[in-house]
Amino acid sequence: MQTQFQYMKKLFKLFQPVLFLIATLTTTVAHAALEIEISGGSAQQIPIAIVPFGQAVTANQDKIADIIAADLRRSGLFRVLETSGVASRPTEVSQVKYAEWAVLQAQAITVGNVTALPGNRLKVTFGLADVLKQTQLVTMEYNIAPNQLRLTAHKIADVIYQKLTGEGPIFASRIAYINKTKNRYALQVADADGVNAQTVVSSSEPIISPAWSPDGTRIAYVSFEKKKPIIFVQSLTTGQRLTLANFKGNNSAPTWSPDGKKLAIVLSHSANSQLYTINADGTGLKQVTKSSAIDTEPSWSPDGKWIYFTSDRGGNPQIYKVSAFGGEAQRVTFQGDHNLSSHFSPDGKSLVMVRKDGARYSIALQDLASGQSQLLSDGGQDESPSFAPNGRVILYATRTGGRGALAAVSSDGRVKQRLSESGGDIREPSWGPLLN
C-alpha cells in the first residue's frame, strides 16, 4: 500500500545581498521563496528520528534539524518521526538511549550539535545511528562560516540519504528557472528546496533556456533583450557575462559538454535551425548538423561522444542522435506523436523528454539500452525536464491555474512535488550540479 501524505510548508524568506549588477539590466533581490507541496511516497519509507541539534549559538535562527527533516520528507523515502514525546535530547551518538527510540519504531536516529569557534566560525557535529542494531553508522564534523549553516544541513541530509538508501547525494544543489512577473523576466537561482532565490539577470524581454555548466559556476541562457535571441554565459561568482553567440538570426538552446569546455548551440543564420558546437569563450564555431529540417534542443551525452537533439526531419519532431563531431544522425524515439527537449540522466543510461500524445504534453523517461519508455507526468502542458544530480528526481515545468509552476517527480514515478510561488509565473527550470 502506498503511504499518502500531504505536506506544505512556508519557507523562510531570507534577505540576500545584491550579488550581481549588470549594465543596462537591473538586478533585483528576490525575497520570495517557492512553496513546495509533496504527494505520493515510497512503499517502504524509512522511519527516522531527527533530534533537534544542540545549538549554543543563539544568533542563528535556522534550525538544522528542520532543514534536514524537510529534505528527507521531500524525497518521499523517509517518514520523519515526531520526537517531542521523548524527554531526552542527545547531541551525540554515545548519549542515545536506544530503547527510548525503539518505542517510536525508529529505524535510524540522527543527533548533532552546533558550537561557536573563534573567528566567527561554527563547528557542526552530526551522528547517525541504527536504532535496531544499536550501532553508530557515521559521524561528521564541519567547520563553517555562519552563512553556510543551511548548506551544511543539506549536506548532512545527503549523508543520511546516501547511507540509508544507497542513492547518491541530491539535497546540496541548486536549481535555476525563469520567474515572470508582470512584464519582467528574471533568471533566478535557488537552493534545491526553493529557499534563497536570487536573481541572476532580469530583463523586460523574454529569457529562456538556462543551462548549468558542469561545475555549477556558470549559467548559459538565451535573452531577447536585443529584440532577438542571443546566447550569454554568466559567471555566478562574479556576475560577469560574455556574449557567447550573437550571429544573424536566432542563437539559442545552449547545453554544455561534460568537460565544460564547449557548448552545443543552435543557430539559424538566415535559414532553419541547425546544431553547432562552440568553445565556452565564444571561439571555434563548428557546424554539427546539415539538414533542411529544424534541428534543435541539443543534449550532450555524459561520455561526451554524442549529441542528442530534436529534429522534424522525419515529418514531426522526434529525438535523434549525432556524433559530437557531426555525421549521420540516427533516430532514437519511436513512441508518441512528438518527442522534444531530451536531457540525459547523469549515468547516461536514460533520457528524459517531452512527449506529445494527442493534445497532451507529458514528461517521458526512456531507457536507452532497451528503448522502453514510460510517462512520468500527465500535466498536459509539461516541459523543460532535467535530472537531479543523482538521477533520482526529474524537475520540470507545468501549468496550474493559467500560471507556470515547477514540478518534480521521482524517476520511478512514485513521488511527486509541486513548487509554486504566489503571484509568480515560473518556467524553464534546470537542476544544477552538487555544491562543494
Binding site: 523574454p206 529562456i208 533556456s209 531577447f224 529584440k227 532577438k228 535571441p229 544573424k248 538570426g249 536566432n250 539559442s252 538552446a253 543552435v266 539559424s268 538566415s270 535559414a271 532553419n272 535551425s273 529544424i294 534543435t296 534542443e297 530534436t310 522534424d312 514531426n316 519532431p317 512528438h338 522534444l340 527537449s341 517531452v354 506529445k356 493534445a359 504534453y361 502542458q381 516541459e383 523543460s384 501549468r399 493559467g402 518556467r427 524553464e428
Partner: protein, 188 residues
C-alpha cells in the same frame, strides 16, 4: 447613458469616420479576422470582419487620415501585415498569397525599403522548438518574397517563438492567432 443613446453616438462617430475616409465602403478595421484552418476560402484580402470588441470607436478617424502611404492605408492590402499558419507547419497558405505578392511587389519597386519578418508560434510544445518553428515560418515568407523579386538584403528574419503568444489559450480560435509571421517595415 442608455443603450440607445450609446448606439446612436457610436453610429454617428462611425458615420463621421466614413465621411472623413472618403466614403470607402471597406470597413476600416485592420485587425484580421480569426483565420480558420479548415476554410481556405477565407482570404486575407476579403473585407475583415471586426473582431468582437466594441470596435466602432474613433479608430476609424485615425486610420482614415489621408497620409498617402500605401503601407498604412487601411484600404491597401499592404496594410495587411500578418500571415497565419497551421499547427506545426510553415507553409504559406493559398489565402495569403495576394498579401505576400503585394509586399514582394512593393519591395521590388522600393529598393531601399527593408522588412523584418517576425515569426511566432502558439504556446503548445517546447519553447526552443517553437523558436525554431517561428524562424522557419519567417524564412518561409522570406522565400515567397524572394521568389517575387524582393532582394535578400531587404529582408531580415527573426523569431520570437511562443514568447509573444497570447498565453492560456483555451481553444484553436485563440491558438491560431499566435501562429503567424508579422511583416514589419524598417522605421515602423
Amino acid at each position: 447613458m442608455n443603450k440607445t443613446m450609446l448606439n446612436k453616438k457610436l453610429l454617428s462617430s462611425l458615420l463621421l469616420a466614413m465621411v472623413l475616409s472618403a466614403c470607402k465602403s471597406t470597413p476600416m478595421v485592420d485587425k484580421p479576422a480569426a483565420v480558420d484552418d479548415k476554410s481556405p476560402n477565407i482570404t486575407a484580402t476579403a473585407p475583415a470582419v471586426p473582431v468582437a470588441d466594441s470596435g466602432a470607436d474613433t479608430a476609424g478617424v485615425k486610420d482614415g487620415s489621408v497620409s498617402g502611404n500605401p503601407l498604412t492605408d487601411p484600404n491597401n492590402i499592404l496594410s495587411k501585415r500578418t500571415v497565419y499558419f497551421d499547427f506545426d507547419k510553415d507553409t504559406v497558405r493559398e489565402e495569403f498569397r495576394p498579401l505576400v505578392e503585394a509586399h514582394a511587389k512593393y519591395l521590388a519597386e522600393h529598393g531601399s525599403a527593408k522588412v523584418i519578418l517576425q515569426g511566432n508560434a502558439d504556446e503548445r510544445g517546447t519553447r526552443e522548438y517553437n523558436l525554431s518553428l517561428g524562424q522557419r515560418r519567417s524564412v518561409s515568407v522570406k522565400k515567397s518574397l524572394n521568389l517575387l523579386s524582393a532582394q535578400d538584403k531587404q529582408i531580415e528574419t527573426v523569431s520570437y517563438g511562443e514568447e509573444k503568444a497570447t498565453a492560456n489559450c483555451k481553444d484553436e480560435a485563440c491558438h491560431q492567432l499566435n501562429r503567424r509571421v508579422d511583416i514589419v517595415y524598417e522605421g515602423e
